[in-house]
Assembly symmetry: C2
Homo-oligomer: 219 residues x 2
DNA sequence: GTATTGTATATGATATATCAAATAGCAGGC
DNA sequence: GCCTGCTATTTGATATATCATATACAATAC
């Protein structure tokens, strides 16, 4: 007997639109039209509207004064504002995770490390993004702080879409795993302060690689 | 010419339900019924439903497996998890605000301080909560970091409802303003580190006063 | 008396119809 | 040629109708 699971349409619409955002299907500033999306997904307007409103509440979409709903432009300035928040919270989560990690967790993280290294050779950007996310959240989940985790998830939703293209940089691709290796080493020897510092450096380095290619906000 | 402003019903429903939550109108675990709320507010179900979903996205309400929507119980454990996140972010916001505060801001903060002191004499809990919020956000807004501010606002929404009753404690009421005074003093002399430390202490002391009276999570 | 099953009711989820605001295009006036 | 105002169309907002699921309760079987 396998359980039959029901998922409301608005949830699925949310997921669809979210992956669409992450994959850059929707161009910034181009309005998301409820009726159009409804027709595309073959459902009615109501669940689409609900999904859009949820995305607006999460600030992944914004409502213009015209009431149009559009993808906000991720600017260098916004990313720069997000960075210290992420550094503080993801650093905290890493530190909290240290005493809670068991040897098996470390082994799994090493497995992810290997797979990330492989993507650098195969130039598989999609796999890299997926694995990078997995690596980070494997750690954050171990913080044991649900509320913290939830806030971090919200922040990743915002920065996620711009991570695409991070992999284009040769330099980044070559060193993408460097800090990860240090993080796992620190985690293994139970050095919370070092783990936190490495995690913070990982975020900062990625941001440094990414920010120059983001557009600056319109004055 | 005063601007005529239109506000969608779902926004207003959101506000209404939110203040209802803050005022403890809705008991935890008691389901919020869409049709009932719609009838009470004299509008149709759709905007109510949208408001509820937004509140769910913000985690101010939760959906049970039955699909009922209820107020989650704020437990001691959840509050304890929220605290370090708030300390980190509100501390950061305070620190960032220091170099951006102008003398007029300080004057305004002092004004709030006086009014808070007055509430301790008149036992006006509602006014205290309002002014306390105003005091904190006057500072946070000056951080110049919109993203940070938004996350903090989300956290305050969660802890807001339990702040009611903070004022019942004699000891807290007498010392409610102590840290605030130190914060303003530090802000005035431009001492970012001290301002941050005082802010962190303010949050921690309030939490210490509040947490014992929260129910522990069901095992 | 308890358990089970069927039925009525409550309630959330979705689709559709209708309303209202915004936008685009066009005609007329200057 | 450009502005103004009208109209049609698009599109978001709301209300309502319908459907599906969960719950409560009653009836029946044992």
């Amino acid at each position: 007997m396998t359980k039959i699971e029901y998922q409301p349409l608005n949830d699925r619409a949310y997921q669809e639109i979210l992956t669409g955002l992450t994959n850059g299907i929707f161009a910034p500033m181009q309005p998301l039209v409820i009726r159009t999306l409804a027709e595309n997904y073959g459902i009615s307007a109501t669940p689409i509207r609900e999904a859009l409103q949820r995305l607006v509440a999460e600030r992944l979409l914004v409502v213009l004064p015209n009431r149009s709903i559009v993808v906000p432009q991720m600017t260098r300035e916004k990313f720069a504002q997000l960075l210290p928040v992420r550094v503080a919270l993801e650093g905290m989560a890493t530190e909290l995770a240290v005493p809670r990690l068991v040897p098996d967790d470390i082994a799994q993280l090493r497995g992810i490390l290997d797979r990330i290294a492989a993507t650098a050779k195969t130039f598989d950007a999609r796999a890299y993004l997926q694995l990078n996310r997995e690596f980070h959240f494997r750690i954050y989940e171990k913080s044991g702080n649900e509320e913290l985790l939830h806030v971090i998830q919200g922040l990743w939703l915002k920065v996620g879409p711009v991570f695409t293209g991070l992999f284009d940089s040769d330099h980044f691709r070559q060193h993408a795993n460097d800090e990860h290796v240090h993080i796992v080493a620190a985690l293994e020897r139970g050095d919370a302060a070092a783990a936190r510092a490495c995690m913070e450096r990982d975020l900062t380095l990625a941001a440094r690689s990414l920010m120059p290619r983001l557009a600056s906000a319109a004055p």
